[in-house]
Amino acid sequence: MHPAPSVIIFSVLTGLGFGLLAMLGFGLAPATGWAAVVTYGAGYALATAGLMASTFHLGNPQRALRAFTQWRTSWLSREAWASVAAMMLMAPVAASAVFAGRLMPVLGALAAVLCLVTVVTTSMIYTQLKTVPRWNHWTTPALFLGHAIAGGALLAGLGNAPVLLLLLGLFLALTFRTGDGRFADRGHTLATATGLGGGSVRSFAPPHTGSNYLMREMIFVVGRKHAVKLRTLSILLVSVLPALVLLVLPAGLIATLLAAVLHLIGAFIGRWLFFAEAEHVVGLYYGLR
């Protein structure tokens, strides 16, 4: 799949933003006044920036509001509802912390749950696609949730953030590894795609001499040769290095910011691989994957 920057930015930033808001909503990092302005502000800024980025992916973004209509069947529509509901419900919690200096544990927990639900709906957009076996597995929502929780804990400055980050790194390695054989396991081949079994079949000539939308969007082979290096780099940056920074440096804004920057770069690399390594079954028709 084509690793479009808009979709990578969208999924990474909303995951991190809603993860942070969830930690705040659960009252795990109680802050009031100016401190709450910074923490809630960061959560809202990340989530909003991510949602804005997602609209750059659209052919007709002026109709984006229509995406709220099909929540009965479409995960993309559910994601739209969940994100708006989470942000609206979190607003009084944030306002109370900032202006009244009072925490709202019940409403906060409810909003926090909605934040995590939003992350799950985002992941389900990818998980639901049977056409992309690497994504079509329970590990995808688990990975997105893991990113949100570990990243949120890091930004909220929680004491257990290093442990959560290391667990995320382990799980990321697991998803890289288990995803590798899934396309073959599902049994999709050129023979099932064309029905021309009973012997051997190979692509002789493509239907067009140039490229097309399908090939640009769903058959992405550039950069896979660096996949092993990039996997290692993403695990180091998203998990190991920020955990080390948090453990070694004295707790404070500088340690959190440095760890967050490293974590964010690692998350972007990991998400790039999430798309670049995902193979769509339509590639079979072209004899490519």
Binding site: G59, T194, L196, V201, F204, P207, N212
Partner: protein, 245 residues
């Protein structure tokens, strides 16, 4: 609404005979021609006369080389367009309701004025049947020429999809695959019409007729008996005489 309607009795679709298709791409051209002027946004091209041309097509013809067990390699031309699946994953993923399946005849269509161009339906389709038009920013797909098949302004012979109408070899058939007595259903039953990627669970309506098994020559050299000339008469006597000397 992107909920799928209950399965319709009428299931309009195509049956494509892989034994007959010669790979001339006339269906591709006819499809592009018709869909440039009728239903929805025209199928645009980018850099059409430049070094890197690319464009939107609703039908594309692949070519595969198959080698049957113990047989010789043969070329199969493989036209591919929307299969109008009964369990169409492209419909249910749509966030806006632009993508829908008609309850009355099962045709899968896009309401372009509601399409935000997110591309998720193209991701959900295993067959590569949907392409996002780069000029209009909306999803394009085979309409089964819904603006021809019911069009009473056209002569009756033309009330069939453009690809079927134009096919010079008669490799493409259009009809109601929900009716077991229709010509297309009989053809499918007779020739063992197949579904593409059945393991995806999409229940496609369109069927493909597999290439017929090629017959095989019993003798490797069919002219060999003609070379074994037996001389008779005077030449035969001379032949035997010369053998003895």
């Amino acid at each position: 609404m992107t909920s799928l309607p209950p399965p319709s009795d009428k299931k309009l679709g195509l049956v494509i005979d892989l034994d007959i298709c010669v790979g001339c791409h006339a269906c591709v051209t006819a499809c592009k021609g018709w869909n440039d002027q009728g239903y929805g946004a025209p199928l645009s091209d980018q850099d059409a006369w430049g070094a890197n041309p690319s464009g939107t097509f609703l039908n594309r013809v692949h070519s595969y080389e198959i080698t049957p067990e113990g047989g010789v390699p043969q070329l199969v031309h493989f036209p591919k367009s929307c299969l109008h699946c009964e369990d169409a994953p492209c419909v249910t993923v749509c966030p806006t309701g632009a993508s829908y399946k008609r309850a009355e005849d099962g045709i899968v269509l896009v309401n372009e004025s509601a399409c935000i161009g997110c591309g998720l339906c193209a991701w959900a389709c295993p067959y590569g049947a949907r392409e996002l038009d780069q000029a209009a920013g909306v999803m394009k797909k085979c309409t089964l020429c819904v603006d021809r098949i019911y069009n009473e302004n056209l002569p009756e012979v033309d009330r069939t999809p453009a690809c079927v109408r134009t096919c010079p070899t008669g490799a493409r058939h259009f009809g109601d695959l929900g009716d077991p007595d229709s010509a297309v259903s009989k053809l499918v039953a007779e020739r063992g019409g197949m579904e593409l990627m059945p393991e995806q669970g999409t229940k496609p309506v369109n069927r493909y007729l597999p290439p017929r098994a090629k017959d095989r020559l019993e003798e490797t050299a069919p002219l060999a008996p003609l070379l074994d000339i037996q001389a008779t008469g005077f030449a035969g006597w001379l032949d035997r005489l010369l053998d003895r000397i």
